[in-house]
Protein backbone atom coordinates (compact mmCIF):
# COMPACT_ATOMS: atom_id res chain seq x y z
CA UNK A 1 0.00 0.00 0.00
CA UNK A 2 1.34 3.42 -0.86
CA UNK A 3 -1.10 5.98 0.48
CA UNK A 4 1.26 8.67 -0.78
CA UNK A 5 -0.53 11.71 -2.17
CA UNK A 6 2.55 13.82 -2.86
CA UNK A 7 2.13 16.21 0.08
CA UNK A 8 4.51 16.22 3.01
CA UNK A 9 3.18 16.27 6.57
CA UNK A 10 5.89 18.65 7.80
CA UNK A 11 4.27 19.13 11.21
CA UNK A 12 4.08 15.36 11.66
CA UNK A 13 7.71 14.97 10.66
CA UNK A 14 8.75 17.76 13.05
CA UNK A 15 6.71 16.10 15.81
CA UNK A 16 8.66 12.85 15.45
CA UNK A 17 11.85 14.89 15.76
CA UNK A 18 10.51 16.74 18.84
CA UNK A 19 9.47 13.48 20.47
CA UNK A 20 12.81 11.82 19.86
CA UNK A 21 14.73 14.88 21.01
CA UNK A 22 12.72 14.80 24.23
CA UNK A 23 13.54 11.11 24.62
CA UNK A 24 17.23 11.75 23.93
CA UNK A 25 17.34 14.49 26.54
CA UNK A 26 16.20 12.02 29.18
CA UNK A 27 19.56 10.23 28.85
CA UNK A 28 22.16 12.97 28.16
CA UNK A 29 24.90 11.12 30.04
CA UNK A 30 24.43 7.96 28.01
CA UNK A 31 23.90 9.83 24.73
CA UNK A 32 26.63 12.47 24.88
CA UNK A 33 28.78 12.39 27.99
CA UNK A 34 29.72 8.70 27.62
CA UNK A 35 31.10 9.03 24.04
CA UNK A 36 32.87 12.26 24.95
CA UNK A 37 34.59 10.66 27.95
CA UNK A 38 35.46 7.62 25.84
CA UNK A 39 36.88 9.87 23.09
CA UNK A 40 38.83 11.87 25.68
CA UNK A 41 40.45 8.65 26.94
CA UNK A 42 41.26 7.48 23.40
CA UNK A 43 42.72 10.86 22.48
CA UNK A 44 44.72 11.08 25.70
CA UNK A 45 46.06 7.51 25.81
CA UNK A 46 46.48 6.64 22.11
CA UNK A 47 46.92 10.07 20.64
CA UNK A 48 48.79 11.96 23.33
CA UNK A 49 50.66 9.42 25.52
CA UNK A 50 51.38 6.59 23.04
CA UNK A 51 51.26 8.85 19.99
CA UNK A 52 53.90 11.11 21.49
CA UNK A 53 56.39 8.27 20.98
CA UNK A 54 55.29 7.46 17.42
CA UNK A 55 56.89 9.06 14.38
CA UNK A 56 54.78 11.30 12.15
CA UNK A 57 52.47 9.65 9.60
CA UNK A 58 52.33 11.38 6.22
CA UNK A 59 53.68 14.52 7.81
CA UNK A 60 51.06 14.56 10.55
CA UNK A 61 51.31 13.99 14.31
CA UNK A 62 49.83 10.64 15.37
CA UNK A 63 47.15 12.47 17.36
CA UNK A 64 46.03 14.28 14.20
CA UNK A 65 46.09 10.98 12.30
CA UNK A 66 44.08 9.04 14.87
CA UNK A 67 41.41 11.70 15.60
CA UNK A 68 39.29 11.10 12.42
CA UNK A 69 39.18 7.38 13.27
CA UNK A 70 38.06 8.08 16.82
CA UNK A 71 35.43 10.48 15.48
CA UNK A 72 34.17 7.90 12.97
CA UNK A 73 33.92 5.20 15.67
CA UNK A 74 31.71 7.50 17.71
CA UNK A 75 29.59 8.64 14.75
CA UNK A 76 28.91 5.01 13.84
CA UNK A 77 28.05 4.08 17.42
CA UNK A 78 25.87 7.13 18.08
CA UNK A 79 23.91 6.66 14.86
CA UNK A 80 23.37 2.94 15.24
CA UNK A 81 22.39 3.13 18.91
CA UNK A 82 20.03 6.05 18.31
CA UNK A 83 17.98 4.38 15.60
CA UNK A 84 17.93 0.89 17.13
CA UNK A 85 16.72 2.27 20.45
CA UNK A 86 14.14 4.56 18.78
CA UNK A 87 12.57 1.73 16.85
CA UNK A 88 12.97 -1.01 19.41
CA UNK A 89 11.56 0.95 22.36
CA UNK A 90 8.68 2.32 20.31
CA UNK A 91 7.81 -1.29 19.47
CA UNK A 92 8.47 -2.58 22.97
CA UNK A 93 6.32 0.12 24.63
CA UNK A 94 3.90 0.02 21.66
CA UNK A 95 3.91 3.78 21.08
CA UNK A 96 4.90 3.07 17.49
CA UNK A 97 1.13 2.52 17.13
CA UNK A 98 0.65 6.28 17.59
CA UNK A 99 2.40 6.88 14.29
CA UNK A 100 0.82 3.86 12.59
CA UNK A 101 -2.69 5.23 13.20
CA UNK A 102 -1.66 8.73 12.05
CA UNK A 103 -1.61 10.19 8.52
CA UNK A 104 2.18 9.91 8.25
CA UNK A 105 3.86 8.42 5.21
CA UNK A 106 6.59 5.83 5.67
CA UNK A 107 9.13 8.25 4.20
CA UNK A 108 8.14 10.84 6.86
CA UNK A 109 8.50 8.28 9.64
CA UNK A 110 11.96 7.25 8.37
CA UNK A 111 13.05 10.85 7.80
CA UNK A 112 12.00 11.74 11.35
CA UNK A 113 14.12 8.94 12.79
CA UNK A 114 17.12 9.81 10.60
CA UNK A 115 16.93 13.51 11.43
CA UNK A 116 17.53 12.90 15.11
CA UNK A 117 20.22 10.32 14.24
CA UNK A 118 22.11 13.03 12.32
CA UNK A 119 21.58 15.57 15.12
CA UNK A 120 23.02 13.15 17.67
CA UNK A 121 25.99 12.34 15.42
CA UNK A 122 26.73 16.03 14.81
CA UNK A 123 26.53 16.95 18.52
CA UNK A 124 28.73 13.97 19.43
CA UNK A 125 31.27 15.03 16.78
CA UNK A 126 31.32 18.66 17.88
CA UNK A 127 32.02 17.61 21.46
CA UNK A 128 34.89 15.37 20.37
CA UNK A 129 36.32 18.16 18.22
CA UNK A 130 36.20 20.47 21.24
CA UNK A 131 38.08 17.86 23.31
CA UNK A 132 40.66 17.48 20.51
CA UNK A 133 41.09 21.24 20.41
CA UNK A 134 42.20 21.10 24.06
CA UNK A 135 45.04 18.85 22.86
CA UNK A 136 45.89 21.32 20.10
CA UNK A 137 44.25 19.47 17.19
CA UNK A 138 41.84 21.68 15.29
CA UNK A 139 42.62 21.02 11.66
CA UNK A 140 39.80 20.60 9.11
CA UNK A 141 40.88 20.87 5.46
CA UNK A 142 37.41 20.80 3.94
CA UNK A 143 34.35 21.68 6.03
CA UNK A 144 32.03 20.50 3.24
CA UNK A 145 33.66 17.08 2.98
CA UNK A 146 33.83 16.83 6.79
CA UNK A 147 30.07 17.44 7.06
CA UNK A 148 29.38 15.05 4.17
CA UNK A 149 31.10 12.21 6.00
CA UNK A 150 29.39 12.86 9.31
CA UNK A 151 25.93 13.09 7.72
CA UNK A 152 26.27 10.28 5.18
CA UNK A 153 27.82 7.78 7.59
CA UNK A 154 25.26 8.60 10.28
CA UNK A 155 22.47 8.00 7.73
CA UNK A 156 23.98 4.65 6.67
CA UNK A 157 24.24 3.41 10.26
CA UNK A 158 20.93 5.02 11.23
CA UNK A 159 19.24 2.99 8.49
CA UNK A 160 21.10 -0.15 9.50
CA UNK A 161 19.97 0.47 13.08
CA UNK A 162 16.34 0.76 11.98
CA UNK A 163 16.55 -2.66 10.32
CA UNK A 164 18.01 -4.20 13.46
CA UNK A 165 15.45 -2.38 15.62
CA UNK A 166 12.65 -3.84 13.51
CA UNK A 167 14.13 -7.33 13.54
CA UNK A 168 15.17 -7.63 17.19
CA UNK A 169 12.85 -9.27 19.65
CA UNK A 170 15.07 -8.88 22.68
CA UNK A 171 17.94 -6.75 23.98
CA UNK A 172 20.50 -9.44 23.13
CA UNK A 173 19.61 -9.28 19.43
CA UNK A 174 19.89 -5.49 19.50
CA UNK A 175 23.60 -5.68 20.27
CA UNK A 176 24.54 -8.55 17.95
CA UNK A 177 25.39 -6.52 14.84
CA UNK A 178 27.42 -4.08 16.90
CA UNK A 179 29.43 -6.82 18.62
CA UNK A 180 30.07 -9.09 15.63
CA UNK A 181 30.19 -6.66 12.73
CA UNK A 182 30.40 -2.94 13.44
CA UNK A 183 33.03 -2.85 16.20
CA UNK A 184 35.47 -5.37 14.61
CA UNK A 185 35.24 -3.87 11.12
CA UNK A 186 35.59 -0.31 12.36
CA UNK A 187 38.67 -1.19 14.45
CA UNK A 188 40.39 -2.88 11.51
CA UNK A 189 39.27 -0.12 9.12
CA UNK A 190 42.27 2.08 9.86
CA UNK A 191 41.30 3.89 13.05
CA UNK A 192 44.75 3.59 14.60
CA UNK A 193 46.95 2.63 11.65
CA UNK A 194 47.57 3.08 7.95
CA UNK A 195 46.89 0.23 5.53
CA UNK A 196 50.64 0.07 4.87
CA UNK A 197 51.25 -0.94 8.50
CA UNK A 198 49.14 -4.09 8.02
CA UNK A 199 50.59 -7.48 7.01
CA UNK A 200 50.32 -8.16 3.26
CA UNK A 201 47.25 -10.44 3.33
CA UNK A 202 45.32 -7.96 5.50
CA UNK A 203 45.81 -5.08 3.10
CA UNK A 204 43.38 -6.67 0.63
CA UNK A 205 40.87 -7.21 3.43
CA UNK A 206 41.20 -3.57 4.47
CA UNK A 207 40.39 -2.35 0.96
CA UNK A 208 37.25 -4.52 0.97
CA UNK A 209 36.09 -3.01 4.27
CA UNK A 210 33.62 -0.11 3.84
CA UNK A 211 34.69 1.32 7.21
CA UNK A 212 38.14 1.91 5.76
CA UNK A 213 36.67 4.23 3.09
CA UNK A 214 34.59 6.13 5.65
CA UNK A 215 37.57 6.68 7.94
CA UNK A 216 39.84 7.47 5.00
CA UNK A 217 37.32 10.00 3.67
CA UNK A 218 36.97 11.76 7.01
CA UNK A 219 40.73 11.73 7.49
CA UNK A 220 41.21 13.31 4.08
CA UNK A 221 38.59 15.96 4.90
CA UNK A 222 40.38 16.77 8.16
CA UNK A 223 44.13 16.49 7.49
CA UNK A 224 44.36 15.84 3.74
CA UNK A 225 45.87 12.35 4.25
CA UNK A 226 44.41 9.60 2.08
CA UNK A 227 45.27 6.00 1.18
CA UNK A 228 42.52 5.47 -1.41
CA UNK A 229 40.48 7.36 -3.94
CA UNK A 230 37.91 9.28 -1.85
CA UNK A 231 35.31 8.92 -4.60
CA UNK A 232 35.17 5.18 -3.94
CA UNK A 233 34.18 6.04 -0.37
CA UNK A 234 31.63 8.62 -1.54
CA UNK A 235 30.09 6.01 -3.86
CA UNK A 236 30.01 3.41 -1.09
CA UNK A 237 28.34 5.83 1.35
CA UNK A 238 25.76 7.08 -1.17
CA UNK A 239 25.12 3.62 -2.59
CA UNK A 240 24.58 2.10 0.85
CA UNK A 241 22.29 5.01 1.82
CA UNK A 242 20.07 4.44 -1.22
CA UNK A 243 19.95 0.64 -0.87
CA UNK A 244 19.33 0.75 2.88
CA UNK A 245 16.67 3.48 2.57
CA UNK A 246 14.82 1.43 -0.06
CA UNK A 247 15.06 -1.63 2.19
CA UNK A 248 13.77 0.24 5.24
CA UNK A 249 10.95 1.85 3.22
CA UNK A 250 9.93 -1.60 1.99
CA UNK A 251 9.99 -3.02 5.53
CA UNK A 252 7.80 -0.14 6.74
CA UNK A 253 5.37 -0.57 3.85
CA UNK A 254 4.87 -4.28 4.56
CA UNK A 255 4.75 -3.55 8.29
CA UNK A 256 7.71 -5.80 9.14
CA UNK A 257 8.19 -5.67 12.90
CA UNK A 258 5.60 -2.90 13.14
CA UNK A 259 2.19 -4.31 12.35
CA UNK A 260 0.87 -7.68 13.42
Amino acid sequence: MSGYDGSVNWVGLWTIIRREWSRLMRVPIQAFLAPWISALLFIFVFGFVVGGRIAQIGGHRYLEFVLPGILMLNIVNASFLQSTSQIYFSRFLRYVEETLVSPLSYAEMIAGILSIVVVRAVITSLGILAIAAVFGVTHITSIGAFLFWIVSVSIVFGLLGIIIGLWANNFEQLTMLNVFFITPLSFVGGVFNTVNMLPGWMKGVAYANPFFYFINGLRHAMIGFSEANEWIGVSVALGLSVVLFATVWRLFSVGYGLRS
Binding site: M1, E98, T99
Partner: protein, 258 residues
Protein backbone atom coordinates in the same frame (compact mmCIF):
# COMPACT_ATOMS: atom_id res chain seq x y z
CA UNK B 1 -8.94 21.07 12.36
CA UNK B 2 -10.31 21.37 8.82
CA UNK B 3 -10.11 18.14 6.89
CA UNK B 4 -8.94 18.26 3.28
CA UNK B 5 -11.25 15.37 2.52
CA UNK B 6 -14.91 16.04 3.16
CA UNK B 7 -16.91 12.84 2.73
CA UNK B 8 -20.42 12.60 1.40
CA UNK B 9 -22.79 12.54 4.37
CA UNK B 10 -24.59 9.52 2.91
CA UNK B 11 -21.42 7.44 2.68
CA UNK B 12 -21.08 4.75 5.31
CA UNK B 13 -18.86 5.77 8.21
CA UNK B 14 -17.32 2.30 8.20
CA UNK B 15 -17.70 -0.43 5.65
CA UNK B 16 -15.91 -3.71 6.30
CA UNK B 17 -16.32 -6.42 3.69
CA UNK B 18 -15.16 -10.04 3.96
CA UNK B 19 -12.32 -9.17 6.31
CA UNK B 20 -9.98 -12.02 7.13
CA UNK B 21 -6.95 -11.88 9.37
CA UNK B 22 -4.61 -14.82 9.81
CA UNK B 23 -1.59 -14.32 12.06
CA UNK B 24 1.83 -15.75 11.27
CA UNK B 25 1.19 -18.47 13.84
CA UNK B 26 -1.70 -19.66 11.64
CA UNK B 27 -4.37 -18.43 14.03
CA UNK B 28 -7.43 -17.20 12.17
CA UNK B 29 -8.45 -14.22 14.31
CA UNK B 30 -11.09 -12.80 11.99
CA UNK B 31 -12.85 -14.75 9.27
CA UNK B 32 -15.08 -13.33 6.53
CA UNK B 33 -16.25 -10.47 8.71
CA UNK B 34 -18.52 -7.86 7.16
CA UNK B 35 -20.17 -4.94 8.89
CA UNK B 36 -21.48 -1.47 8.11
CA UNK B 37 -21.66 1.50 10.44
CA UNK B 38 -23.94 4.38 9.46
CA UNK B 39 -22.74 7.97 9.94
CA UNK B 40 -23.82 9.24 13.35
CA UNK B 41 -24.40 5.74 14.72
CA UNK B 42 -23.34 4.63 18.18
CA UNK B 43 -22.22 1.12 17.33
CA UNK B 44 -21.58 -1.53 19.98
CA UNK B 45 -19.18 -4.33 19.07
CA UNK B 46 -19.45 -7.18 21.54
CA UNK B 47 -17.80 -10.53 21.95
CA UNK B 48 -15.98 -12.72 24.43
CA UNK B 49 -12.22 -12.43 25.02
CA UNK B 50 -10.29 -13.62 21.98
CA UNK B 51 -13.32 -13.33 19.69
CA UNK B 52 -11.51 -10.99 17.28
CA UNK B 53 -12.75 -7.55 18.43
CA UNK B 54 -9.33 -5.97 18.88
CA UNK B 55 -7.94 -7.62 15.75
CA UNK B 56 -10.83 -6.16 13.74
CA UNK B 57 -10.12 -2.73 15.22
CA UNK B 58 -6.40 -3.09 14.56
CA UNK B 59 -7.11 -3.89 10.90
CA UNK B 60 -9.42 -0.86 10.62
CA UNK B 61 -6.88 1.51 12.16
CA UNK B 62 -3.67 0.20 10.55
CA UNK B 63 -2.08 -1.52 13.53
CA UNK B 64 -2.60 -4.90 11.85
CA UNK B 65 -2.46 -5.77 8.17
CA UNK B 66 -5.61 -7.50 6.88
CA UNK B 67 -4.96 -10.81 5.13
CA UNK B 68 -7.86 -10.12 2.76
CA UNK B 69 -11.05 -8.11 2.49
CA UNK B 70 -11.73 -4.40 2.21
CA UNK B 71 -12.15 -1.63 4.77
CA UNK B 72 -13.52 1.81 3.92
CA UNK B 73 -13.73 4.78 6.26
CA UNK B 74 -16.30 7.27 4.90
CA UNK B 75 -15.67 5.78 1.47
CA UNK B 76 -11.86 5.96 1.71
CA UNK B 77 -9.97 2.68 1.38
CA UNK B 78 -8.14 2.19 4.69
CA UNK B 79 -5.35 0.17 3.04
CA UNK B 80 -4.76 1.78 -0.36
CA UNK B 81 -5.39 5.39 0.78
CA UNK B 82 -4.37 4.91 4.36
CA UNK B 83 -3.22 8.50 4.92
CA UNK B 84 -6.62 9.93 3.96
CA UNK B 85 -8.41 7.24 5.95
CA UNK B 86 -6.33 7.93 9.08
CA UNK B 87 -7.39 11.59 9.05
CA UNK B 88 -10.99 10.49 9.61
CA UNK B 89 -10.47 8.03 12.43
CA UNK B 90 -9.29 8.00 16.02
CA UNK B 91 -8.50 5.04 18.25
CA UNK B 92 -8.47 4.73 22.01
CA UNK B 93 -6.89 1.29 22.39
CA UNK B 94 -7.55 -1.34 25.00
CA UNK B 95 -3.86 -1.50 25.98
CA UNK B 96 -1.88 1.64 26.73
CA UNK B 97 0.36 2.37 23.75
CA UNK B 98 2.27 5.46 24.86
CA UNK B 99 5.78 6.49 25.74
CA UNK B 100 5.28 5.90 29.46
CA UNK B 101 8.11 8.28 30.36
CA UNK B 102 6.53 11.24 28.54
CA UNK B 103 4.25 13.68 30.33
CA UNK B 104 0.51 13.98 29.75
CA UNK B 105 0.65 17.27 27.83
CA UNK B 106 3.32 15.99 25.45
CA UNK B 107 1.45 12.75 24.78
CA UNK B 108 -1.69 14.62 23.72
CA UNK B 109 0.25 17.35 21.88
CA UNK B 110 2.42 14.91 19.90
CA UNK B 111 -0.64 13.11 18.61
CA UNK B 112 -1.99 16.42 17.31
CA UNK B 113 1.37 16.98 15.66
CA UNK B 114 1.25 13.63 13.86
CA UNK B 115 -2.09 14.74 12.44
CA UNK B 116 -0.50 17.94 11.11
CA UNK B 117 -2.22 20.36 13.51
CA UNK B 118 -0.44 23.69 13.90
CA UNK B 119 1.07 24.72 17.22
CA UNK B 120 -1.78 27.19 17.89
CA UNK B 121 -4.45 24.59 17.06
CA UNK B 122 -2.76 22.05 19.30
CA UNK B 123 -2.40 24.47 22.20
CA UNK B 124 -6.10 25.34 22.18
CA UNK B 125 -7.20 21.75 21.80
CA UNK B 126 -4.75 20.29 24.35
CA UNK B 127 -5.77 22.86 27.00
CA UNK B 128 -9.45 22.15 26.37
CA UNK B 129 -9.05 18.36 26.53
CA UNK B 130 -6.85 18.41 29.62
CA UNK B 131 -9.53 20.45 31.33
CA UNK B 132 -12.38 18.32 29.95
CA UNK B 133 -10.86 15.12 31.32
CA UNK B 134 -9.85 16.64 34.69
CA UNK B 135 -6.17 16.23 33.96
CA UNK B 136 -5.06 19.77 34.89
CA UNK B 137 -3.22 18.74 38.10
CA UNK B 138 -1.55 15.90 36.19
CA UNK B 139 -0.65 17.74 32.99
CA UNK B 140 3.10 17.65 33.63
CA UNK B 141 3.22 14.22 35.27
CA UNK B 142 4.77 11.28 33.50
CA UNK B 143 2.26 8.75 32.19
CA UNK B 144 3.81 5.95 34.26
CA UNK B 145 3.13 7.91 37.47
CA UNK B 146 -0.64 8.00 36.87
CA UNK B 147 -3.32 5.68 38.24
CA UNK B 148 -5.19 3.35 35.89
CA UNK B 149 -8.20 5.65 35.69
CA UNK B 150 -6.05 8.69 34.90
CA UNK B 151 -4.20 6.75 32.22
CA UNK B 152 -7.53 5.89 30.61
CA UNK B 153 -8.47 9.59 30.62
CA UNK B 154 -5.18 10.44 28.86
CA UNK B 155 -6.00 7.86 26.18
CA UNK B 156 -9.36 9.55 25.63
CA UNK B 157 -7.88 13.05 25.57
CA UNK B 158 -5.30 11.86 23.05
CA UNK B 159 -7.82 10.29 20.70
CA UNK B 160 -9.94 13.46 20.71
CA UNK B 161 -7.07 15.78 19.77
CA UNK B 162 -7.91 15.80 16.06
CA UNK B 163 -11.67 15.50 16.58
CA UNK B 164 -11.99 12.36 14.42
CA UNK B 165 -15.21 11.76 12.48
CA UNK B 166 -15.15 8.09 13.44
CA UNK B 167 -14.19 7.43 17.04
CA UNK B 168 -13.15 3.87 17.89
CA UNK B 169 -13.08 3.05 21.58
CA UNK B 170 -11.71 -0.34 22.56
CA UNK B 171 -12.93 -0.93 26.11
CA UNK B 172 -12.56 2.71 27.14
CA UNK B 173 -13.96 2.25 30.63
CA UNK B 174 -11.98 -0.84 31.62
CA UNK B 175 -10.53 -0.27 35.08
CA UNK B 176 -12.09 3.14 35.71
CA UNK B 177 -14.22 4.07 38.69
CA UNK B 178 -17.98 4.55 38.60
CA UNK B 179 -17.79 8.37 38.62
CA UNK B 180 -15.48 8.55 35.61
CA UNK B 181 -17.51 5.94 33.80
CA UNK B 182 -20.66 8.03 34.24
CA UNK B 183 -18.82 11.21 33.18
CA UNK B 184 -17.47 9.44 30.14
CA UNK B 185 -20.89 8.13 29.18
CA UNK B 186 -22.30 11.66 29.31
CA UNK B 187 -19.39 12.95 27.21
CA UNK B 188 -19.80 10.23 24.59
CA UNK B 189 -23.54 10.80 24.41
CA UNK B 190 -22.87 14.51 23.86
CA UNK B 191 -20.41 13.74 21.08
CA UNK B 192 -22.83 11.34 19.43
CA UNK B 193 -25.69 13.87 19.67
CA UNK B 194 -23.42 16.32 17.87
CA UNK B 195 -23.08 13.83 15.01
CA UNK B 196 -19.92 11.90 15.81
CA UNK B 197 -19.92 8.24 14.80
CA UNK B 198 -18.75 6.05 17.66
CA UNK B 199 -17.64 2.41 17.49
CA UNK B 200 -17.44 0.94 20.96
CA UNK B 201 -16.28 -2.37 22.34
CA UNK B 202 -16.98 -3.18 25.95
CA UNK B 203 -17.50 -6.09 28.29
CA UNK B 204 -20.00 -4.01 30.27
CA UNK B 205 -23.36 -4.85 28.75
CA UNK B 206 -25.01 -2.11 30.79
CA UNK B 207 -22.72 0.38 29.07
CA UNK B 208 -23.56 -0.91 25.60
CA UNK B 209 -27.26 -1.01 26.35
CA UNK B 210 -27.21 2.54 27.64
CA UNK B 211 -25.13 4.08 24.85
CA UNK B 212 -25.41 2.13 21.61
CA UNK B 213 -28.08 2.24 18.91
CA UNK B 214 -26.74 -0.71 16.91
CA UNK B 215 -25.12 -3.86 18.23
CA UNK B 216 -22.94 -6.43 16.56
CA UNK B 217 -21.72 -9.61 18.24
CA UNK B 218 -18.57 -11.39 17.14
CA UNK B 219 -17.55 -14.88 18.16
CA UNK B 220 -14.72 -17.03 16.83
CA UNK B 221 -13.76 -14.31 14.36
CA UNK B 222 -17.21 -14.13 12.74
CA UNK B 223 -20.21 -11.86 13.20
CA UNK B 224 -22.89 -14.02 14.78
CA UNK B 225 -25.59 -11.43 15.21
CA UNK B 226 -26.13 -7.82 14.26
CA UNK B 227 -28.97 -5.31 14.36
CA UNK B 228 -30.66 -2.43 16.16
CA UNK B 229 -30.39 -2.49 19.95
CA UNK B 230 -34.15 -2.89 20.38
CA UNK B 231 -34.00 -6.35 18.81
CA UNK B 232 -31.60 -7.50 21.55
CA UNK B 233 -33.01 -5.80 24.63
CA UNK B 234 -36.63 -6.73 23.89
CA UNK B 235 -35.84 -10.43 23.95
CA UNK B 236 -36.64 -12.43 27.08
CA UNK B 237 -33.70 -11.91 29.44
CA UNK B 238 -32.66 -8.71 27.68
CA UNK B 239 -29.29 -7.98 26.15
CA UNK B 240 -27.36 -10.32 28.43
CA UNK B 241 -29.42 -13.33 27.46
CA UNK B 242 -29.29 -12.37 23.78
CA UNK B 243 -25.52 -11.98 24.02
CA UNK B 244 -25.03 -15.33 25.74
CA UNK B 245 -27.23 -17.10 23.22
CA UNK B 246 -25.37 -15.52 20.31
CA UNK B 247 -21.99 -16.54 21.70
CA UNK B 248 -23.10 -20.10 22.35
CA UNK B 249 -23.42 -19.91 26.12
CA UNK B 250 -26.58 -20.84 27.99
CA UNK B 251 -28.33 -17.87 29.66
CA UNK B 252 -29.79 -20.27 32.22
CA UNK B 253 -26.34 -20.94 33.59
CA UNK B 254 -26.21 -17.40 34.92
CA UNK B 255 -27.46 -17.53 38.44
CA UNK B 256 -29.94 -14.84 39.47
CA UNK B 257 -28.93 -12.66 42.44
CA UNK B 258 -30.36 -13.89 45.76
Amino acid sequence: MPLPFLPDSMTLALHVSHLRKVYKSGTVAVDDLSLDVQPGDFFGFLGPNGAGKSTTIHCITGIATPTSGTIEIFGVDAVKDYREARKLIGLSPQEFNVDAFANVTDIVDWMGGYFGMTKAERKTRVDMLIQKFDLVPHAKKKFRELSGGLKRRVMLARVMINDPKLLILDEPTAGVDVELRRDLWRYLQELNRDGKTIFLTSHYLEEVERLCATISIINGGRIVRQGPKAGFVNEPGGLEAAYLRATGAEPDHVAAPA
